[in-house]
Amino acid sequence: MSSIIPTPCLHLTHFKSHTTSFTNLLNRIQVTPLGRASLQTTKTIHFHCGACGHAPHRLYLCLTCDSTFCDVHAPDHDHDIMVDVDRAELFCCSCGDHVYDQDFDSAVVVLQTAAATLGGRDSLCSPVPESVRKRRRVEYRPWSPDSQARVLLGLQLETNNNNKFPLGLRGLNNLGNTCFMNSVLQALLHTPPLRNYFLSDRHNRFVCQQKKKSNGVNNCDRKRLCLACDTDALFSAVFSGDRKPYSPAKFLYSWWQHAGNLASYEQQDAHEFFISMLDGIHEKVEKDERKPHSQDYLEPGGSSRFPLDYQLDEYRERVMWHKNPLVFRISSGDCCIAHRVFSGILRSDVMCTACGFTSTTYDPCVDISLDLVPNHDIPTKASSKNLHSCNGNAETINPGLSTLLGCLDRFTRPERLGSDQKFFCQQCQVRQESLKQMSIRKLPLVSCFHIKRFEHSPIRKMSRKIDRYMQFPFSLDMSPYLSSSILRSRFGNRIFGFDGDGNGNDPDCSNESTSEFELFAVVTHSGKLDAGHYSTYLRLSNQWYKCDDAWVTKVSENIVRAAQGYMMFYVQKMLYYKASGTS
């Protein structure tokens, strides 16, 4: 969602052509700490209408002759361009409408943002996080199989009789209260970039360096633990074409060795398992990828080894997520595949309510955990949609309904921290009340949303589950939650191309296409807190399937929409390839 710059009306164009722009006006603008711009008033200057003497809620100052008028008398004035004194918005009398100008807006933004930094510098510069450095895009280079690969493919086609079923659809046996693990595994098995990584042999369990060193403790020749190898084995088994349910026993064994504190036979939290598993893959994979990049497998007749040292070669391609995608050449990315796929960056701003100084921090995250509240608790622009009624139908949207977008609105709203949580303002040099606001600096390839349905109260030693339904879309646009959008709206949506770090740039920075996501997996929980069951809905080739431990069945879209979502997985609609670490 980048702003369009509207074509100025003739009157505005004319005005700009023969005046020294807005300099005089800008000198008279004052800004509150939290960014509201208006015209200065002093003890001696009170604006009132030159025609009727009143001082109503809407007053305009003529930029040509400096007289002021109320909205009733403004249209009668000879000059065209005025400014709303309370809101610093331009008004054209002839058009009878607010008009917008980039130069004016940019200048106002500079004034507004000056308060946010020490010394009043006119920029919100914060250090750009490492992994957000822009990498240049490269052209897509197609890959085709060499003779060896062709033979293997040929064999596969002959023996694979069940082409009518999607690849990789296979039930997982419940090993004893392990549905929490099965449900997350099913989602990960069908996470496109992760699936492609393992299926294109990026972590080959037979040559993994991690495991070669054996641990001589206990006289057992126990191999070193590598959860990524067990994941590789899992992918091979599930995508083998065998449709009998698979028992992920070895995986469970490895995971329990990795996550000692979670190793017990009792129902556990799927989200906890998800985090733990990503952590397990992260630790191990990064040490693997140290191969030289001497071989370029793109050359005809070249070796089929992958150049592991390249970063994710990204190119601009329209990938329709529901078709079987091409084999992407994905290497370890920033540190490992788990982070390359799931890791995003959150930005947190804490603003002093007294002077406007803003302290910004960046934190990586692999998912977003959202509180579940009804929409009417959220004071937001989004709630206006609840008042629309659908054409022809008497259906009105229930204002108490919880929605994913509503939860995201809540997550990114400015929150006033209590008076017991005053933060030390560097500018004021005392503790002040403050506003805190979260936003997303960088979106991951795959966004996982975790809905906080399980409340644990350590004080009351009580836990409970929130069963409330939450609507979630199948297509999701994350642009309103980006740091660039949040910053822009914090400063009145002026025409000023905020990037996610608060630096100005071209107003049409093209972030749009990377903020559209499609839902591909939903982990649901049914039943009570301690006696419940997890299952996963998967979207393959635009058909939904339910994976309930060993049982894989087809379901209609309605079942999924009506389900009680606990974790939702969305993948970017369009994937880009970028060149590797340019120094």
């Binding site: 809101r87 918005e89 607010h98 017990s264 229930n398």
Partner: protein, 137 residues
């Protein structure tokens, strides 16, 4: 109250109403101004798509809640591959920790004890092992 007092009260009330009206108008104008800017600069969220998703969700819930909907309430008969599965997974394989043959559906509780993890698992001390430990000290 005297007549003049009453008049003062009503003047005060009128004045208060007037100020309140001005404040309210001002706030409304703030919102209108913001919305106008958002609309003119093309920053509004795609409400059509959002509403469509909400509508589909409401319809879906209504259909699923309908008691005559067989899909929502059915128990599994066969999976998409035509297979059936027992309540407890029957596959048998060897435990990678101790080597014993274990039924899949009971693997996790077995492994917990086998690995010595979890609350319920305790390392069994037999007379022979404690005696051996005592000897080695």
């Amino acid at each position: 109250m005297s007549a003049s007092d009453e008049k003062n009260v009503s003047d005060d009330t009128q004045l208060a109403s007037h100020f309140f009206g001005e404040l309210l108008d001002s706030v409304i104008m703030d919102v209108a101004s913001e919305c106008h800017r958002i609309a003119r600069l093309g920053l509004d969220r795609n409400l059509d798509d959002e509403e469509e998703e909400l509508r589909l969700s409401a319809e879906a819930r209504a259909r699923v809640a309908d008691p005559s909907n067989s899909e929502a309430n059915s128990k599994y008969v066969v999976d998409i591959f035509g297979q059936t599965h027992p309540a407890v997974a029957a596959e048998i394989f060897d435990c990678m920790n101790c080597g014993r043959s274990i039924v899949a559906g009971r693997f996790a509780p077995h492994l917990e004890k086998c690995m010595g993890k979890g609350r319920k698992a305790r390392v069994k001390s037999t007379r022979s092992s404690t005696a051996a430990a005592a000897q080695n000290r």
